[in-house]
Symmetry: C2
Subunit: 327 residues, 2 copies
């Protein structure tokens, strides 16, 4: 039974899991959908009441019925590197590849439908609350008056993109920013705006979840320095860290497990802010969040956990006791 990894050629995070899989002798096929057709080929037949599919990459052919799991790491757009690339060819290639993979019994990290749903920030806020995680008061609106009333009730606010787009996404780079006192909010009418009560930060928390395994890392917030109080978006800070492992409070662990179950996610990277009272406030859950920087700084074996989940050594519900990391 083979592990299929969909990702681009340069992906050190994928490399970390592949090393673990190789060490365990688990067959791995790694391919970039951008190479379909050309470097990657697919074939599927529906006849005599059954479906038989095959994938070919790098000269290897694997049966789709022999896939134990599929890791959607950082795949290119299907057919993006094809000689005759076009939107039409991308649509056809997407249909062929993902359409066939949807017919298999493989486990997904993460299933494309779950991944898509998980990207909706408003839904994240709703689900986090429903699962018992503390969420800072938040408003998303195109009504200037609603924004003004919210600012009256919560005078210390930050503004950030609704889509939670990451600065790595190029043109979509908008950092979380503090709202100035007396802001008139007229521009809210030109596009949905997300306002959130600012949490007085003691630390940033990154909680990486792989199946049932939780890896929490904490980076204390610098209490002094010239701009300390203005650094609200850790992704744009000059230097965050060092990240150190911390235990996960039991209530948070239970809530996070509930979140992942309801979201049908096998992997999720939660960002919390720890306030001065030690409360972890939910900011977001990135179903495709990086874990390499955490593993390097903390020594937490996240890549190994991903490899084990993909290998199916233990079910999501029953991780080995020694790998649990909750308090």
């Amino acid at each position: 039974m083979t592990v299929l990894i969909l990702t681009s050629e340069q992906d050190v995070t994928a490399d970390m899991a592949v090393v673990e899989l190789n060490a365990e002798g688990i067959p791995v096929v790694r391919l970039d959908p951008a190479e379909l057709p050309g470097g990657v080929d697919v074939s599927g037949e529906w006849a005599h009441g059954a479906f038989h599919g095959h994938l070919s990459a790098g000269g290897r052919v694997v049966s789709m019925s022999g896939l134990r799991s599929i890791w959607v790491r950082r795949p290119g757009r299907p057919s993006a590197r094809a000689q005759a690339a076009s939107p039409w060819l991308t649509e056809e290639s997407t249909q062929a590849l993902y359409g066939m993979l949807r017919c298999t019994d493989a486990r997904w990290m993460n299933h494309p439908d779950a991944a898509r749903q998980a990207r909706y920030k408003p839904w994240q806020l709703w689900l986090a609350r429903a699962c018992g995680l503390p969420v800072p008061a938040t408003l998303i609106t195109t009504f200037p008056r609603a924004a003004r009333e919210f600012a009256d009730r919560y005078p210390d606010l930050v503004v950030k993109p609704v889509s939670g787009a990451h600065p790595g996404d190029g043109t979509l780079a908008v950092p979380t920013t503090r709202v100035r006192p007396g802001e008139d909010f007229r521009d809210v009418a030109h596009g949905p705006t997300l306002l959130q009560r600012r949490i007085r930060k003691a630390a940033d928390i990154r909680l990486t979840c792989v199946g049932d395994q939780l890896f929490a890392a904490r980076a204390a917030h610098p209490a002094d320095g010239p701009h300390a109080s203005d650094v609200v978006d850790v992704r744009f800070a000059d230097a965050v860290g060092p990240w150190t492992p911390v235990p996960v409070p039991r209530r948070t662990a239970d809530a996070v497990h509930a979140y992942l179950t309801r979201a049908q996610l096998a992997y999720g990277a939660f960002d919390f802010v720890e306030d001065v009272d030690g409360i972890w406030w939910f900011l977001e859950c990135n179903q495709a969040g990086q874990f390499g920087f955490v593993e390097i700084e903390t020594g937490q074996r996240i890549g190994r956990a991903v490899a084990r989940w993909l290998a199916g050594e233990w079910s999501g519900a029953n991780p080995p006791e020694e790998d649990r990391n909750t308090s």
Copy 2:
């Protein structure tokens, strides 16, 4: 409790259901996401453990908690008509609108995740078989050799797009076509190709499903005429029809109900080919298929069924007995 219809301004199919809803006194809000922001506004607040959302269109404001159902008919791309339209604004507006609607208890026709999954043709073929519907032998491949071997086994083939794109989609217009004898299939390597055993057609069947209600219409295939045997794609035929109501065989009805349940679809338009022995062969299920032309030709009250489903007069599982249309 209000019915929300997401569609473009010009949509006679939506009009048919709105007339029925108006007649029943059911409040309806109809809006085009393309008008957000500008003609359409949204606002949602997460505070004190609850989510409260509002929508505004055409001067009316409705609470999202007051939505009984959402009909995703033919919505424009969010913010497409905004003054400062951009991919960024579309992403933000999509997140805000659909992200908030995902937090409601409303019933969807169809939920966006179910709709997305339902568009994968390879998955449709797999699900149709799994539910017991006859599916013609089909191959989707980028391997020329696989295509040749398939053609040896099934000499009478048609070729069509994997994505099942409709000719109405402009540039994606590729009709289903018969494969010539002796075709060498070299071009298959340049893009996924769908080959399917041609069914000797007695009639086209359109089976429109609304919740548990089934409306079947049949258009006999012209047995004579100069090009009769070459017309394989009803969508490109000069004149198809007339469409007349036909009863649905019990086995087909059971299979279709199973398909819709597993696909989590409240609406689906199935295309079958009836062969010379009377067997209905599954071709596809379009989760957004038109029903206006069927209603006009057959007199079947599909628009009324949609309106009743949206109004929630009966649950999907318990339609009124007189509306059942199965044999």
